[in-house]
Structures are given as structure tokens and as C-alpha cells.
Assembly symmetry: C2
């Protein structure tokens, strides 16, 4: 059978190049938008500098971390240096570093463009909704294009050069470790600033959300960018790379087949990027002037284009299978369903938000209890959706031969993530317009403009819930296929060692069961540590804000400028300090389980981790979104409106939800991917040294 791989390598490079060129065009398009208001220029400059400070420090710490990890890889992975060719280990190190560097570049540029767009969006809002939407959306889209372009480029280049899918695991691990820093660190940063700003500003002083007298206000705006642009981007870069990697690892373990399995992975991934490019290029607010609709409909357009393009490819290219296309389509459709159920539980036009608002009238305890309960219930449809998606893909592809069932699951993850370029664009749109709203207020652009900015911001919040549900679902499917990748990797080691292969992980086997229980407890501890980290860090920042109000004369009256940089500094230092122990707990637990129970225990560990991680991530993201929107719903006049008892209770719910939805919830994805990759990478060590 003809090897089409070189052709698809070339096509992947070409598509990545198109994405980069388009991103460059959007960058210049955004840059040439006028910006005149001096205050807006000044403040957006402060936000930009703050974000760069954080990213700089984060990358420095990450560099140190990467150095240590590189050394460990060099000595031990894929096999101990004294047991095999050192070339493999060097390749792995290079792949690992490439993963971190590519993700970092995408994050860096994404932040640059986002902080470039926020002020321009505010100014464009003076001209109307349509223009402002376009500036905000295109500013965010640069990140979407870069992330998917870089991941496609990276995976293709690493595989082409190394010629071995195992090395891809190193690349994927690099992406994951960056995501852990960006997502968890960014999440702690953003919520530290948000919580501290709210506590001192709104609660103690009774000043507005974006009041420039508050020393934490710039840190809060910086947080939106580092959390939602850089963090979410790194998270989805990670998921996307992991999905492709696991599909490719499983594909390479399929012995001689009549199908072009590796080619299909590249083909579907690049068509997904193409579909996203078209979706981004055509996104516009329609006649009805509804930005939410614009964002959603471009997602549907992308989905439709992807399904048609892949169907055409499957039809015309010999060696592509309809069954695999079916798996991909299933994954994508389940992803949309998950997004829609998230929407049901968090959108204020749906009943649940109103119920939580009503409960708030009885006091904060009922805000918490009802939000928690609906959060738990909201996890159900998503988990059932993922369960069905895995079951259907498996059954679809199983008849193709041995190994295809797992490949089907991996391809359903690839399918779900195909529209990730669009998803990131929607998500990065959020902080751009959120910042724009604040800038419009600080720049005194007038009520009409602020109203437009508000409308754009509200669309961002609604769509964010959907993209978050989507990204958790995608991570869920991805890690299932990572479990398959782990088994494939381990069997390669076992085969080389002449030992019996693993055919599965039986839950009645005690090591598997042991691993499952420990694995299930890890996301709970991980997220708890992040939340406690936010608490501690916010406390530090509140102390600093009090100090500034006490020692800077005229600050309260607005005659003096607060020391914004001090707050940014606290958020930065604290975020990086608090995330390390949480990350270490996850990694150390993985290693301990592996060295106690061996590869079978790790199989169980990953399963337990996925299951409880999915449940907690969905619960935290959704209940957080629900509380946020319930507060806004009350503020819009329900249950007594602003200043009522219900409002006070809803604010407490929102504060609880902040670290849930923006720190712990979305970081769990990354935690799962990290431990999955650590497991795959260390499989040879677990085979060689384990207690049971």
C-alpha cells in the first residue's frame, strides 16, 4: 500500500502556514484600528506590562522546571541511559523542549494581541456593536489560529524528524507541563486579583468593579488575560496535542492494516484547522445585532464544514474508513451536546439560574447548597455523553481489526477537538471584551459605548460556559485514548523485555483497584490545594491593598495613583508559589502508585483520575458559572436587585464560584493529562521496578 504520510506531512505544514499567515493578517488588521483616548492607551499599556511581567516570571520558572525535567528525561526516558541508545533520550529531551517552547510562543503572542485589542475594541464600540465585535473577535482569533497552527506544526515536525511516535509523548508532555503552569498558575493569579479587588473595593469601600482607585484593578484585568487567553490557550494546545499524540501512538501500534490510519489523523486535524479558519474569517454580527448568536453560529459553521470536508476526504481517499469518520463525527457532536447542556445550567435565560437566584433570597447558605446541587446534576449529561461517545466509537471501529476500537476512541477525541481553533477564538474573545468594558469606563467613553461593551462582554460570558464544557469533554475523551496510549507503550516495553503483554486492566485485580481509588482521590486534593492557594494569596493582596490605602495620602479620594505593580507582583509570586505543591502531589502520587503497583496499578490510577477528575471539573466549572450568572441575574433586577439580601447572598456564591470555575475546575484537565503522560513516559521504569 502506498505511503501517503509524506504528502500529509506537507499538507499539514501548508495548513499551519495558512493559519499563521491569516493570524498575521488579523494582527495587522487589529493593529491598524485607531486608538486615541489617552487614558485608554495608558491603562491598556499597564495591563499589557502586567501580563508580560507575569508571563516573563512564569516562563522563567518554567524554564527552570523544564531544565530539571530535561535532565531526568535525558537520564531515564524513554529508557535508562545505561540500557539503550542515548540518541533516543536526547530526541526525547528535544521534543519535550519543543512542546514547551511552541506552547509558550503561542501564549506570548496571543497575550500580545489580546492586550493590543482591548483598547481598540473599546474605541470601536464608539462606532457601534458590529465594528467592536469584529475587533474583539479578531483579536481573540489570533490566539486560536496560533494554538492550532503550532500544535499541528509541532506534531508533524516531531514525528517527521524522529520517525517514532513514542517521542511524540515527550512533545505532548512539554505542552502539558506548560499548560499546568499557564492554566493553574494563571488561574491562581486571576482569582487572587479578582477576589482581593472585590473584597476590598466592592465590599469594604463600596466602589465600582473597575474603579481606578483600587490598587488591584490592573491586576484583575491582567488576570483575565493570563487566565483566559494564555491559560485556556495552553490548556487546549495541550489537549489538542495529546489527542493527536494518542491517536498516532495507537495507530502506530496497529500492525499492517489496509487503512491509512496515521494519514487519517493528520488529514482530520488539518481539515479541522481549515474549517476553523473559514469559520473565523466569516464570523460577523448579523442583522439582529446579537453577538452571542454570532459566536455560536460561527461554531456551527465550523462544525458543518469539518464534517463535510472530512466526509469528502474519506470518500475520495483510498484507505480512509467511514467507520473512523463516524467516530470523529460522534465525538464532535457529543462535544456540542456537552456545550449545550452546560449552557442550560449556566445561561440566565434558562430556568436554573433563576432557581439559584430565588434560593439566594433565603440567604447565602441556600445559594451555596442549590448551586452545588445543580453543579453536581449538570455533570450527569456530560458524563453520559462521553460514555456514549466512547462506547459508540469503540463499537464502530472494532470490526476494522485489532487495535482499531481504541483508535476509534482516539479519533472521536480528535473529532471533538477539530474545531478547537474556533473554540479558543471564542474563549479569548471573552477577556478582550471584558477588558474593553473596563477601559471604556476608565476612559469615560460615555454610557452608550459602555452599553455596547457590556453587551459584548455578556456574550463572552455565555459562550465561555459552552467552551469550558467543551474543553472538559474533549480532555475526557483524550485521556481515555491516553490510557490506550499508555497500554500500547507499556506493551512495547514488555515485548522488548520478553514479558507477557497487558491485555487490559481488570478492576477485580487488586493492583488495578488500588490504583483506581488513589487516582480518584488525586483531583480532589489537587483542586483543594489550588483553592487554598487562591485563598492564601488573596489574603496577602488584601493586606497590601489595605497598606496602600493607609499609607498613600489622597488615594481614597482619587488624588493619588495606587501602586498597581505591587499587586501584580503579589499575584505573580503567589500564583507560582502555590501551584508547585499541587502539581508535585499529582506527579508524586503517580510515581508512587507506579512503583508500588506497577503498570496495572497505573492503568487503574489513570482511570480513577479521569473519572473523578471529569466529575469534579464539570461540577466546579458549571456551579461556578451558575453562581456568576445568578449574581448578574439578581443585579439585573430579579429578587430585589442590587443591594438586596438576595444580592449579598449571590455575591458570596459568586466569590465561592470564582476559584471553582477559573482556577480549580479547568486546571483538573491539565492535571489529568500531565499524569497520563508521566505514566506513559515512565512505563519502562514501572515495568522494571515495582513492588507488586
Amino acid at each position: 500500500m502506498q505511503d501517503l504520510l509524506p504528502i500529509f506531512f506537507a499538507l499539514s505544514f501548508l495548513t499551519a502556514a495558512i493559519a499563521f499567515l491569516f493570524a498575521l493578517y488579523l494582527y495587522f488588521w487589529v493593529k491598524k484600528q485607531k486608538i486615541e483616548n489617552r487614558e485608554i492607551i495608558r491603562v491598556s499599556q499597564l495591563i499589557k506590562e502586567g501580563a508580560e511581567t507575569f508571563m516573563g516570571r512564569e516562563y522563567k520558572l518554567l524554564g527552570l522546571f523544564a531544565l530539571v525535567v530535561s535532565l531526568v528525561i535525558l537520564i531515564l526516558l524513554p529508557h535508562p541511559i545505561w540500557q539503550g541508545s542515548v540518541i533516543d533520550n536526547i530526541s526525547m529531551v528535544i521534543a519535550y523542549l519543543a512542546g514547551t517552547v511552541l506552547s509558550a510562543i503561542a501564549g506570548k503572542i496571543g497575550i500580545m494581541v489580546a492586550t493590543l485589542s482591548n483598547g481598540r475594541t473599546a474605541e470601536a464600540a464608539k462606532r457601534g456593536l458590529k465594528d467592536a465585535f469584529l475587533v474583539g473577535f479578531r483579536g481573540g482569533a489570533v490566539m486560536g489560529l496560533l494554538v492550532v497552527g503550532c500544535s499541528l506544526l509541532g506534531v508533524t515536525a516531531v514525528l517527521m524528524i524522529a520517525g517514532d511516535t513514542s517521542i511524540l509523548l515527550g512533545f505532548s508532555f512539554g505542552a502539558s507541563s506548560l499548560a499546568l503552569f499557564a492554566k493553574a498558575g494563571g488561574g491562581i493569579f486571576t482569582k487572587t486579583a479578582d477576589v482581593a479587588a472585590d473584597l476590598t473595593g466592592k465590599v469594604e469601600l463600596g466602589i465600582a468593579e473597575d474603579d481606578p482607585r483600587n490598587p488591584a484593578v490592573i491586576a484583575d484585568n491582567v488576570g483575565d488575560n493570563v487566565g483566559d487567553v494564555a491559560g485556556m490557550g495552553a490548556d487546549l494546545f495541550d489537549s489538542n496535542v495529546a489527542a493527536m499524540t494518542s491517536a498516532l501512538v495507537i495507530a502506530s501500534s496497529i500492525a499492517d492494516s489496509a487503512l491509512h490510519v496515521m494519514e487519517m489523523v493528520f488529514c482530520y486535524a488539518l481539515l479541522g484547522l481549515l474549517a476553523s479558519i473559514i469559520g473565523i474569517a466569516t464570523a460577523r454580527v448579523g442583522k439582529d445585532g446579537n453577538p452571542t448568536k454570532a459566536l455560536n453560529s460561527s461554531t456551527y459553521v465550523t462544525t458543518g464544514i469539518f464534517l463535510v470536508l472530512t466526509a469528502l476526504a474519506t470518500f475520495f481517499i483510498d484507505g480512509f474508513s467511514w467507520r473512523i469518520w463516524g467516530s470523529s463525527a460522534t465525538g464532535l457532536i457529543v462535544g456540542l451536546i456537552i456545550g449545550l447542556t452546560t449552557d442550560y445550567f449556566t445561561d440566565d435565560t434558562k430556568p436554573i439560574v433563576g432557581k439559584v437566584a430565588k434560593a439566594s433570597a433565603s440567604g447565602p447558605a441556600f445559594t451555596i447548597l442549590s448551586g452545588t446541587s445543580y453543579g453536581f446534576i449538570s455533570a450527569f449529561p456530560a458524563m453520559v455523553g462521553i460514555a456514549f461517545s466512547a462506547l459508540i466509537s469503540y463499537q464502530l471501529c472494532d470490526p476494522l481489526g485489532e487495535g482499531f476500537a481504541l483508535f476509534g476512541i482516539a479519533m472521536s477525541a480528535v473529532g471533538m477537538l477539530s474545531i478547537v481553533g474556533m473554540i479558543i477564538s471564542n474563549d479569548a474573545y471573552g477577556p478582550v471584551v471584558d477588558n474593553a468594558r473596563g477601559l471604556a469606563e476608565m476612559g469615560g467613553l460615555g454610557e452608550e459605548t459602555i452599553k455596547i461593551a457590556d453587551e459584548l462582554d455578556s456574550a463572552g460570558n455565555t459562550v465561555k460556559a459552552v467552551t469550558k464544557g467543551f474543553s472538559i469533554g474533549a480532555a475526557g475523551l483524550t485521556v481515555i485514548s491516553l490510557l490506550g496510549a499508555f497500554m500500547a507503550e507499556t506493551n512495547e516495553v514488555l515485548r522488548a523485555a520478553g514479558k507477557a503483554l497487558i491485555t487490559g486492566f481488570d478492576i477485580m485485580q487488586p493492583t488495578v483497584f488500588f490504583g483506581i481509588l488513589v487516582g480518584a482521590a488525586v483531583p480532589a486534593v489537587f483542586s483543594a490545594m489550588l483553592i487554598l492557594g487562591v485563598d492564601r494569596n488573596a489574603e496577602r493582596m488584601v493586606g497590601e491593598i489595605h497598606r496602600q490605602f493607609d499609607t498613600i495620602p489622597g488615594l481614597k479620594e482619587g488624588h493619588a495613583t495606587p501602586e498597581y505593580a505591587k499587586c501584580i507582583d503579589i499575584a505573580t509570586k503567589g500564583a507560582l508559589k502555590e501551584l508547585i505543591p499541587a502539581g508535585m502531589v499529582a506527579i508524586i502520587a503517580t510515581l508512587l502508585v507506579g512503583f508500588i503497583g506497577g503498570p496495572t496499578a497505573i492503568g487503574g490510577f489513570l482511570l480513577g483520575n479521569i473519572v473523578s477528575g471529569l466529575l469534579l471539573a464539570l461540577f466546579m466549572s458549571n456551579s461556578g458559572g451558575l453562581w456568576d450568572n445568578s449574581k448578574k441575574y439578581v443585579e439585573s433586577g430579579a429578587e430585589g436587585g442590587k443591594g438586596s439580601e438576595a444580592h449579598k447572598a449571590a455575591v458570596i456564591g459568586d466569590t465561592v464560584g470564582d476559584p471553582y470555575k477559573d482556577t480549580a475546575g479547568p486546571s483538573i484537565n491539565t492535571q489529568i493529562t500531565v499524569v497520563s503522560l508521566v505514566s506513559s513516559l515512565c512505563s519502562s521504569l514501572f515495568v522494571a521496578f515495582s513492588l507488586f
Copy 2:
């Protein structure tokens, strides 16, 4: 090999008889204690009547439910009536009814004695701590003895008469369905009353906890009894029966062995009861006058006696194995460790309670965030403990032959539950002294007496956390062995049908994976529905309390008596109404998964259910206990004491924790056992009719 089973049947009956006689003695001992204060007699009579009202209604509804279930069993289980002997189905119905009736009797008598003891404990407190402790403890101990006596009697009788361990599953299911009503229904009742009483009394009117002007005050005291005496008793009756049942089902599936496996189950269970009797008989407050120490040291005494007695039995009886003794001992020791870690996270002399109290000073959002975080962290040691206990028992017993590994796990659950008589006594002591404290206040017994009652009450709260952790741990291990029992049952069906047997549940198999994800989501939905039920029901009761204050002249001033019965009525009706949908969701999900994915999907379903159920149950119980004790800690003067902002925040935490720790958390155990037993019972149906 000689069949020793008849001897152990006889010994089991004898031990149960001793337990009953001792309970009778304690009953008369408590009854002959003096009670003179008219107000105390009046109020304790009201509590008694209220508890009886609830139990009567509950049992009536349960009777209806049991009737429907009996019909279903008669037609379908253990095999459809048209496919086998109808005698089996009739036996199953009888066993099922026996399970519900025995548990109901134990609950009924336990409540009777508890409501008899509360007033007498209050009066005894006039004479001093030692006397009062003894009355309170012995009142609770009757429940402990009855529960364990009835479970031993029931299991022995059913097995002796039916001669088939499968029929035991029916008995166990009967116990489970009663536990579901008693625990979840009782949990909704008690928290409805507690929350409504607090909201209207403490918050709105600023009157004390047990103020007789509050229409909900009697319902609140009734709730303590139906929740902690009847509910907890039914829960542990259920766990104990399930542990013995699964051990016996697995034992019977072990083909010809040189060991007396069935005999060991009975022997260990009856020695556990004997050890508990000795522990109860010797429990006394020592010279230092510390009731917490008295409760804990009698638990240790019981543990020691059990270990020695079983070691002697294992040494002297031919065909008993040290490996199995080791498994039992491991289970028991892990149970104690779980109890101690729970204590660490919830005891106010340990650091965590103080941390949450300190966080409360920053506002209620931080009370919630810190309590949630520590609650999640607290689940870790318990889950790792259970994981190790399963791993060690498996490894210990695996060398004994096929099937022994699972038997080892089942015996570690039996070991952990061996001291259950002592555990229930400690737990039932709680509401007795809690009531006594309220009665001492209402009866005007003076400050000195109230202080003594307070001390007894506080010991009850501390010990309650330990017993709750213990009971969750025990349920965890039990359901693991129920998973084994399910496999054994299914294989019997498959063998009879001439189909291939199940050797395990491989997580890489799509049906298993499908089941795992769905199973993991069920406890989240189940507990959310219960919490929402408490919310709704408390709202109804608050409405009723407002109505009484508005329409009964002189009530606020204390000149009129409130209509206590109305509140009890609302709590009763609402509790039963709200629990049905939650229970149905769990059962219907089980049936759907079974009919979609067959027995392998059910294996996964049970695993997912156990894992996420354990995590959530531990999280909810512990964070609830933590908030409760943090509130008390603040009330004792920390962080500004009563009336401070920290106190207000801590009260909100406590209100959130109430349904967590007393409704949802402890009901999850029962939910897990119910679906496990439904699965085992329906195994033949799943084999016959399933989609995949």
C-alpha cells in the same frame, strides 16, 4: 472435612440471644432511672410521639414499596417465573421481607429506648457526669446490640432455612431498602427541621437553639433521633448484613477447599458481637471525667478483644486460616485509621477547625472555600487506606487458592464491621445526650446541670465524626466485596446458561468503561437531589413557622404553645416525598446500564459508583463536621466569638454542612449498597436481555 456449619449456626443464635438479653437488661436499667421534672416528661413525650409519627408513616410507605418490590421479585427474581422453580422466587420474597422487618424492628425499639433515655439522662446530670454518661450511653447501646443481634440472627436463619447464599441477597436487599428510607428519609427530616428552626429562631427572632416558643423545636429534636438513631442504625444494619452476605456468597462459590470458609464468616461475626457486648458492659467515665475518652477507649477495648478472640479461634479451630485472620485485622485497623483521620479534620483541638474559623473572619465565601478544600483533602487518607486494605487482603489470601483473594477483601470488610455494635452505641449516644441538653434547658435544671449535659453532648459530636468515617469506610470495603458477589452471581447464571464466564471487568472494554462513567455520575445526582429536597422542605416549614407566629396570638411572648405537630407533619411528608425520586434515579440508572451494556457494564457501573460515592461521601461528611465544629469553636470565643462577623460566616458554613453531613453524605453509602444488590439480584435478567 467435617461440616462445622450447624455448630456455628447454633453459636450465632446463642450470641444473638445474649445480645438481646443484655439489651433487655439495659432497657430495664434505663427505665428504672428516676424522672420527675414535669416539663421534661412532657417534652420528651412530645419527642417520642413525633418520632413515632415519622416512623409510622415511613414504615407505611416502606410497606407499600416493599409490596411492589415483592411482586417484582416474585415474578422475576432470582429468575423469571416462567424459567424456573417458583419456590426460589417465593423464598426470595420471604427473605426480602425478613430483611426489611428485622431492620424495622431494631429501628423501632432503638428509637423507643433513645426517647426513653433522653429525659432520664437530663435528670441524671443533676447527680453528676458519671451517672448521666451511663444513662445516655446505655440508652444508645440498646440500639447497637439490637442491630447487630438482628443482623446475625437474620443472616443465620435465612441461610439455614434457604440453604442457598443467593437468597441472602434478597435479605440484604430488604435491609438496604429500609436503610434507604431510614437514612435518606430520616436525613431529610432532621435537616429540614434543623435548618428551618435555625433560620427562623436564631436568625430571624434571635432566640436560643432549643427555645420552646419555636414551633420547629420538637421536630428538630425528633430529627436527631430519626436521623442518628434509626437512620444510622439501619445504615449499619445494612452494611453489616451486606458484608456478611457478600462474604458468604463468595465463600460458597469457592469450590472444595480445605478451609472452613463459611464457618469463619459466622465465627468472626459472632465474636465481633461478643467483643462489642463486653465493650458496652465495661464502658464507664474514668477518674478524669472525660466522656470522649470513655467512648473511644471502649472502642479500643472492643477492637482488642475482637482481635484476641479471633486469633484464638483461628489457632484452635482446624480449617481456619491465619491469612484470613490477617485480612480481617487489616480491615479493622484501617477502619480505625480512617476514623482517626476524620477526627483530625473535624476535631476542634486539631489545627484544621481553627483554620476554617480563621478563614471565616474574611467572610462566608472563605468559610465555604476552606471547608470544601479540607473536605476534599480529608478524603485522600481514607481512600488510600481502603485501597491498601483491599490490596493487602487480596495479596494475603490469594495464595490460598482460586476465589480466596476476593474472599479476603470480603473478610476485611467483615473485620472492619466486627465492632459495629460498639460503633452504633457510640453513635446513638449522640442524639440521646443532645436531646438531654435541650431538655435540661427546657426543664430549667440549672446551669450546673446544663454544663454537664453540654460536656456529654460535645463528646457525642466528636465521636460522631469518627463513627461516620468508620461507617463510610466499612461501606466502601463492603461494596468492593459486593462487586465480587455480583461477579459470582452472574457467573452462576452464565454457567447455567452454558455461556462463557466473566473473569473480570476490563476497563479497556467499552461497556465497562461506559458503565464506570455513568456509575460515577449517579452519587453526585443522588446527593444533589437529596440536598435540593432538604431546601424545598425547609422552605415549606419556614412558611408554616411564619404562619404560626402570625396567627397564634401571644406565641412570640411565650404565652401560647406552638403547634409542634404541624411542623413534624411537614418534615415527615416532605422527607418521604423528596427521597423517592432520588432513590428511583439510582435504581433506574442501574437497570438502564444493565439492559444497555449487560453484566460487564454493570461491573463498571458499580465500580464507578463506589469510587465517586466514597469520594463524595467522605467529602460531604467531613466538610459538614468541620463546619459544625468551626462554628462551635468560634462560639467558644475564637475570632471574635458569638455575634462577630466570623461567627455569622461560620453559621452559614454550618448550615451548608448540615445537609452535607446528615443527609447526603451518609445516604450515599446506602445508595451504593442498594444499586449493588439490585445488580446482583437482576444479574440473570442482564445476562438474558441486553443491547450490547
